[in-house]
């Protein structure tokens, strides 16, 4: 079965446990080499974070479990990379037209 190498998720989480604890727990998961948890919006009780995980064989279920166990709620899956290599999205003509570049 194909392996997931990178996942980018948009998650809403309470302030506690902190993103330090989130990063620690996510990086403890099997098949994960790197984790990045980035806060992009803070509310009184919750914060929105972008979670990026990269590895050899990422278990989506394992990540979901960590998110739910820590009181988070998954808003969207923003990027998935699978296969033997990690590739970024290709820039197309439409992107140039959209950004005016």
């Amino acid at each position: 079965m194909g392996k997931i190498r990178r996942l980018v998720l948009d998650v809403l989480k309470p302030h506690q446990p902190t993103i330090i604890e989130w990063a620690r727990q996510l990086s403890d998961l099997e098949g994960i080499d790197a984790v990045n948890v980035n806060v992009y919006e803070i509310d009184q009780k919750v914060e929105n974070v972008k979670v990026t995980v990269q590895g050899r064989d990422i278990s989506y279920d394992g990540i979901l479990e960590v998110i739910q166990e820590n009181g988070g709620s998954l808003h969207s899956i923003d990027e998935v990379v699978g296969g033997a290599l990690i590739i970024d999205e290709s820039i197309t003509l439409q992107d140039h037209l959209r950004t005016g570049g």
């Binding site: 809403l12 446990p17 604890e21 919750v46």
Partner: protein
Amino acid sequence: MSPLRQWLQQLREYEDIAEIGEIARRYFAMNAFDGVLTMIGVLIGNYSAGVESARVVISTGLATAMAIGVSGFWGAYFTESAERKRDLDVLESYTLTDLNETKIGRASRAAAIVVSLVDGFAPFLAALVVLLPFFLTSLWGEIYHSYYLSLAVALGALFALGAFLGAISRENIALTGLKMIGAGLLAMVLGYLLRLFE
């Protein structure tokens, strides 16, 4: 990892989430203070009534200490549970998920238990310490020595509590200790003045 270490690590994690330490410390100081002052009341009452049996003082003292302990545990458990449940409900209204079975829900329940145990044991142990000289009455044979010693222990315990609070607030610990002793002395004087109405 050993079960004990695992349990301690989990408790530390819950402490980070539910901020147990600060509120437990507050409850400890507040209720140990209550325990000592209640025991001063019991001692002055017995002294004024001329009770000369160490057994009677110990019985009334222990029963009172037990009652304050139960009261502390019960009161804190229900108050803390209600407050924490409310906080969890508010948080759930933001996350739109059920947080009961998450780490946050478990930390919240653990906090209520730890805090109520502190709230129950603090006054009970403080009261027990004040009563201690009565257990040793046979050593000096004179019950009034036990009364004076117990009251001195009570004032010492109050000073220690005041110093503890002073250390937390980084104030002059001698001054905060003396302020606490003031409350003990006031309770003694008021209790003793009741003799005037007998």
